[in-house]
Amino acid sequence: MKKIKLLLVDDEVPFVETMTKRLKKREFSIDTAHSGLAALKLLENNNKIEVVILDVKMPGMDGIETLREIKKVYPLTEVVMLTGHATVESAIEGMRFGAFDYLMKPCDIDQLVAKVTQAAEKKQTHEDKIIEARIKEITARHA
């Protein structure tokens, strides 16, 4: 099975490190960023990323802003929000801006894996649909 490509964005470096190890062990391909800006830059260079795991509360460009930017430029990329308790409202707001789902920190790894897999599947279906549509378009043109 093809490895799902993830991007983990959080300003807490130890959290990112441990999470990276744990997810790698679960057969994910992971890129990391410690701020919203870094995440956007990384996406620019590597558009193969399927799911972004995004912390809501970050200094500088916060999770919501980053999410809006990602969704604007890469509408097909799915985003799973991570949040502390105080920012549940902002996570809900995030979902209005197109996030796939949100999880509360500290989260259960299995839950996270499940969510991320679902998100990747959703992205895959969307892409498949688009490809199908394109094929139809092309064949229609040829016919």
Binding site: E12, F15, T18, K21, R22, G84, E93, K105, P106
Partner: protein, 582 residues
């Protein structure tokens, strides 16, 4: 503290004093002005009236006197006219005439006499032997010779008795004879004497020199100068202003005079009265006015005292309430900032906890690897890691609760289930309840509808009730039963304890702001008032049932139907927000 109180006391005293002075000034000044004006007006008009009355009396008497004099001289004139030269010289004739006159005029005439132009009395009729008396040097004779008719001043004359003389001059072929009649002063006096008013009012007549023409009262000052002045005044005075006010130099009394000239200005009729006597009504009125003024002033001062005292008391009460409210606001502010701090800390703790949990997870992952599977203490490791995870979750729960309560009371309306709120608040209060040996029993109704209300406000209300019950049962311990149910479109929450109960006297006041039975500094008396306000705002109601030593039950009614209407409104207002939550 004591000093503060003193300062406050002086502050209130100053306010009271200022108010007192203002009230008194404002009330008394118009009273003084009004009474002065009225009194002055009254005095003037009364003066006028009394003056007019006296003037009229004096005028009347003056007329009487004038008539008297005219008539008496008329009698003599008639006698002189009708008598012949011989008759005048005949004493028998004179005797007869005198008798006739005396009979007709009540002994007014004392005697009659005929005098030739040399001043020798030729004939005489009367009680004295005055035939051949010599009058050529007498003042009256000198005047009589010059005038056709003459009425003399009152004088003692040869006989040493006060009398005055009426003369008529008659020419008999070049020889002048003067018929003379003496008029009894007593008869004349009576005309003036009967003019007596009050205690001190009486009349008399004086001549130009100021000598009395009538018998005057004893205490009268006879300084002639004074009376000469009166003459001058009466000359100066215009008609109708014959009233003269003067201070008597002798006795220092204020006197009034009403004067009128008599006998062609030679005599003066004077009516004299003490001022105080003449205007005794003014005195009475003044007394009444003083009494009314005194009573009025007393009433005003009393009312001013009373009113200012009441107002200051009220102000002090309001100030106290304000102070309490301020304290409450400060406390609330403190609580809010502590809450914010707690929220911040809770959030900050959350991150490291997350990392710890993640690290333990990572260790669990690593334990799965083969070479470690054989470790002796594998079980212990696993148990330990699981424990870390469990405690991490506990931390998470604690911070979660802290956050949801420490958040600023937000009145945002949400779709909430009351049972959830009850459970949350119960679990929060349980820690405290454990120490007080109080047990919560919840019997929550199923299938309760969702209510649209502010979750944090509802939490506040419930927490307040629980805390009150816990406070009441802190020493004794007990049970708190919480039931929720649906009844006629109302969600009913009942909180029942078996504490000491609320006395009946206090029961009606428990929702009043600032009503508290807790010791000073412990309770603000605002808790239930705020709860009441919140529930009323939600469209609900709170009822209380309590009996001593049995317990207290608070029943909260929350209407469902109204809430639904509110919800529909909310959808209209914020559709996107709700969509986001679905």
């Amino acid at each position: 503290m004591k000093k503060d109180k003193q300062i406050q006391n002086t502050y209130y005293k100053t306010i009271a004093k200022k108010m007192l002075i203002t009230i008194i000034m404002v009330s008394i000044t118009p009273m003084i002005v009004a009474s002065l004006i009225i009194f002055d007006r009254f005095k003037n008009s009364y003066h006028g009236k009394v003056g007019a009355h006296l003037d009229e009396l004096v005028q009347k008497h003056k007329q009487n006197i004038d008539t008297f004099l005219k008539e008496r001289s008329g009698n003599i004139k008639f006698l002189a006219k009708t008598a012949s030269y011989e008759e005048l010289k005949d004493e028998v004739f004179l005797q007869k005439s005198l008798l006739g006159l005396q009979q007709a005029y009540n002994n007014v005439f004392v005697d009659l006499g005929t005098i030739n132009d040399k001043g020798v009395q030729l004939a005489y009729a009367g009680p004295f032997q005055l035939k051949d008396a010599q009058y050529s040097d007498a003042q009256w004779f000198k005047n009589a010779v010059k005038n056709q008719y003459y009425i003399s001043d009152v004088f003692l004359g040869l006989r040493g008795l006060p009398h005055f003389i009426v003369t008529v001059k008659k020419n008999f072929n070049g020889e002048e004879l003067i018929l003379r009649a003496t008029i009894d002063v007593m008869a004349f006096n009576s005309l003036v004497e009967n003019l007596r008013i009050g205690k001190t009012g009486f009349a008399y007549i004086i001549n130009r020199k100021g000598s009395f023409q009538t018998k005057a009262s004893l205490d009268l000052n006879t300084e002639e100068k004074n009376y000469a002045e009166l003459f001058k005044k009466v000359k100066e005075a215009k008609n109708g202003e014959r009233l003269i006010e003067k201070k008597d130099e002798h006795s220092g009394k204020r006197l009034i005079y009403v004067v009128s000239s008599l006998k062609g200005g030679e005599w003066l009729m004077v009516y004299q009265q003490d001022y105080a006597d003449a205007f005794s009504s003014i005195k009475i009125v003044r007394k009444i006015a003083h009494t009314i003024f005194g009573i009025g002033t007393f009433c005003i001062v009393f009312m001013a005292f009373f009113v200012s005292w009441r107002i200051v008391k009220r102000i002090a009460c309001i100030d106290r309430e304000k102070e309490m409210l301020n304290q409450q606001v400060i406390e609330t502010g403190k609580l809010a900032s502590v809450g914010e701090l707690a929220a911040g800390i809770a959030h900050e703790i959350n991150n490291p906890v997350a990392i710890m949990v993640e690290e333990s997870g990572w260790m669990e992952d690593l334990l799965e690897e083969e070479d470690l599977q054989k470790t002796e203490n594998l079980g212990e490791f696993k148990r330990s890691l699981k424990q870390i995870k469990t405690q991490g979750k506990r931390c998470k729960e604690i911070t979660y609760k802290l956050l949801s309560f420490a958040r600023k009371t937000d009145a945002r309306i949400d779709e909430v289930h009351v049972n959830e709120i009850i459970d949350e608040v119960v679990s929060l209060s349980e820690q405290r309840a454990k120490y007080a040996k109080v047990f919560f029993n919840t019997k929550l109704g199923e299938n309760l509808p969702l209510l649209s209300l502010s979750k944090s406000e509802m939490q506040q209300v419930l927490l307040n009730f629980f805390n009150n019950s816990l406070d009441a049962m802190e020493k004794t311990g007990g049970n708190i039963d919480i039931t929720s149910s649906l009844h006629n479109n109302d969600v009913i929450i009942e909180i029942k304890d078996n504490g000491p109960g609320i006395p009946k006297a206090n029961l009606v006041r428990i929702f009043d702001p600032f009503f508290t039975t807790k010791p000073v500094g412990k309770g603000t008396g605002l808790g239930l008032a705020i709860c009441y306000g919140i529930i009323k705002k939600m469209g609900g109601d709170i009822k209380v049932r309590s009996s001593i030593n049995v317990g207290t039950a608070f029943i909260i009614n929350l209407p469902v139907s109204e809430q639904k209407e509110q919800k529909e409104e909310k959808i209209d207002l914020l559709p996107d927000q709700l969509n986001g939550r679905v």
